[in-house]
């Protein structure tokens, strides 16, 4: 399934995940967190991992030039 739009979609998703990770890390985002104040490092790490996975998916779906 090689397609530039899909690869770009995964790239955008990676950026979104990184932004969410940053918001959790600085304590702005409190969604689904155990406490309603302070930074949430576990959530931040999870979204960094998801961003990396999205970048890998983008690289897999990117059409390759031979």
């Amino acid at each position: 399934m090689k397609s530039t739009p899909i690869a770009v979609g995964f790239g955008i998703l990676a950026v979104v995940f990184l932004v969410v990770a940053a918001l959790y890390a600085v304590g702005i985002l409190q969604l689904f967190a155990s406490t309603s104040t302070g930074p949430h490092i576990k959530h931040a790490i999870l979204f960094v991992v998801l961003a990396v996975a999205s970048l890998i998916a983008a690289n897999f779906t990117r059409p390759k030039t031979v």
Binding site: S34, I41, K42, H43, I45, L50, N59
Partner: protein, 282 residues
Amino acid sequence: MGLLQGATELFPVSSLGHAVLIPSLLHWTFKQSDPSFVPFLVLLHLGTAGALLIIYRSQWVDIIKGFFTAAFRGGIETPAERLAMLLMVGTIPAAILGVFFETRIKSLFASPYVAAGFLIVNGVLMLGFEQLRRRAERRAALDSKPRIEQEEGFAEAERISFRAAALVGACQALAFLPGISRSGVTIGGGLMAGLRHQEAARFSFLLATPVILAAGVLEVPQLFASGVPVGEYVASALLAGAAAFVSARFLLRYFRSGRLDPYGVYCIAAGLISLGLLALKL
């Protein structure tokens, strides 16, 4: 506790369920609602993860190399690269569910009744997985053949589909419930995906390692901050690792021809007996 956790972690009988139940039944002085209880269990799990890393050390070297090679190339060329990507896909569902539902799941740890109940559910699941597997064997006309030949009719871990790897990974999240076995549900998931018993066990053990390590890295600092006897806890983790090493060796040999049935029966019996003992307050 270390020996108990290490011995039960890799067997499909729920180490977490036993870690909640046994202290209650034997009146040990562990407080399961204590903030150091979950980090302590995670430290024991780290011992188990260490044992798995030792057993699969050469495979992990190939998997890590394969992961980076495939990620940068943007394609899969070798079985090790495929396995690395399968493990990544399988780990993500458990990581998402673990992070978002951690607090609610922790609140269940305090009840041995819940653990005993889920242990029975775990036993029923194990028997169910084997019933479905026997049906698959009949469909493939393997039911009249010897067990080793039956097993050869199914696939190796590297052949599992990415969708199936994600489903097996999601099954792994069920193991956050005390009484549901991580290895049990992931081996069962692997069987449903068409893997041999031994390969399902290998995939389950490989899948468990990153989640356990990540949980350890995140939880252990809480343990060191909570003023508990760290030396004793580390000794327990070493015992857990030794017991897990022996258990893994045994299980990989057992699953060449063995099935999940005995563990299913054990879980149902242990759950029912535990519920009875707890109800009678013995």
